[in-house]
């Protein structure tokens, strides 16, 4: 049952990440291990999710769900990624005063945050290998150039992410053969 599998995958993704791009390693792992996507499609999700409105995790869930099983797949993946909100937050909202200084959660998260950062760096390595490889083998210099330009644009000039993605699409059109 692919819908249930999607729901369960994104449940796991939702429960073991703390929002934003920290979901990428888990999405990467779930998509590859089920054979739902390859590495370059995972990169495409990230780029597309960053260019469209809405939170990244939800966008990724919708994209992956639609790719795997159409609109129903998108629905079950989204519900999966939202399940921590509906379960944990429901409890937290009732006991909000207690959760205001939830020392237990803070202690746990003080380990989860750095380990997620480690995972993100590890995924960056595997994505780099896939994204800067030339089809014929070796390193694709134009792709490397675009990546370096994007890094400078993001860090030095603080250009917004949708702008960076749009211009890199144009550069790709011009430079890639």
């Amino acid at each position: 049952m692919v819908l249930l599998e999607l729901f369960w995958s994104f449940c796991k993704i939702g429960f073991t990440s703390f929002g934003g791009l920290s979901m990428v390693p888990l999405i990467n792992h779930e998509m590859l291990s089920h054979g739902w996507m390859n590495l370059s499609e995972v990169s495409d999700i990230v780029a597309i999710a960053e260019m469209t409105p809405g939170p990244l995790g939800l966008n990724c869930a919708t994209f992956a769900g639609t790719r795997v099983a159409g609109f129903l797949g998108a629905l079950s993946a989204s519900l999966g990624v939202l399940s921590p909100t509906f379960l944990i937050c429901a409890v937290a909202a009732v006991a909000f005063e207690k959760f205001r200084d939830s020392s237990f959660m803070q202690k746990v998260m003080s380990g989860v945050r750095p380990i997620c950062l480690g995972l993100i760096l590890a995924v960056l390595c595997s994505l780099s290998i896939s994204n800067y490889a030339a089809p014929a083998g070796g390193v694709s210099l134009p792709a490397l150039f675009i990546g370096a330009a994007a890094l400078v644009a993001l860090l030095k000039f603080k250009i917004s992410i949708p702008m960076v993605i749009a211009s890199s699409a144009l550069l790709g059109l011009a430079l890639i053969r």
Binding site: K12, T16, F18, G20, L21, D44, V46, A47, M51, T52, P53, G54, P55, L56, N59, T62, T66, R67, A74, L82, P84, F86, I88, C89, A90, A93, R100, S102, K107, V108, S110, G111, V112, R113, P114, I115, C116, L117, G118, L119, I120, L124, L127, N131, S140, P142, A143, I146, G147, A150, L151, L155, I161, V164, S168, L170, G172, L173, I176, R177
Partner: protein
């Protein structure tokens, strides 16, 4: 928060408005949840005065520290705070519907044009930006994630376990949570130990 009969009906009447407002938030947001928090601050703290600055800050920090989508958590807690359970559901569904619809259409288009020569050339360029985007986001997370030396050790552990040992992601994250819990408990005891431990 007190809930007399009168404020109860008043809070219920907020639900449809909340749904619509969060639907609009869902349409406008680019690049993650912080812009939604900023819009909530403008609309509900400054304009309508439904809650104070501190309330919103508390909601945001609790929503952030729980697992899952930060903005889903924040919407849920905010909706619950101002209009109870129906308000929470209204905020979360309102916020999720626009990205769900937009992404379904975008994905459909992507599948149609993915194999076009020009599109795939452009996509090589787009993919080249994904690594810098994630890297710059990781740099932004660094301050929240790495509060002391243990943070760097845990980071290194996650990196090595994932890349070189191919350990399951979820196990690694759970291990991180356990380590965080043990280390901060240990640190507390170590700090408080000599002063109130032995008489």
């Amino acid at each position: 928060m007190e809930t007399s009969q009168e404020t109860n009906t008043c809070r219920k009447s907020r639900v449809p408005g909340l749904f619509w407002q969060f639907f609009k938030f869902g349409c406008y947001t680019f690049g993650g949840g912080w812009s939604i928090v900023a819009q909530m601050q403008k609309e509900y703290v400054e304009k309508r005065r439904w809650l104070t600055e501190e309330d919103l800050l508390d909601i945001t920090s609790v929503g952030r520290s729980l697992p899952g989508l930060m903005i889903g958590n924040v919407s849920y807690l905010f909706g619950y705070h101002v209009a109870g359970f129906p308000g929470a559901i209204a905020c979360v569904t309102g916020m999720c519907i626009p990205p769900l619809l937009i992404l379904t259409i975008v994905t459909w288009c992507y599948t149609q044009v993915k194999d076009n020569v020009y599109v795939s050339r452009a996509m090589v360029g787009v993919r080249a930006t994904v690594v810098p985007i994630i890297a710059s986001a990781a740099l932004g997370l660094r301050r929240a994630a790495l509060t002391d030396r243990f943070g760097y050790l845990i980071l290194l552990l996650g990196f090595v376990l994932y890349l070189f040992f191919g350990m399951n992601c979820i196990m690694i994250v759970l291990l991180g949570g356990l380590l965080g819990f043990l280390l901060s408990g240990w640190r507390e005891q170590w700090k408080g130990g000599p002063s109130d431990g032995t008489p």
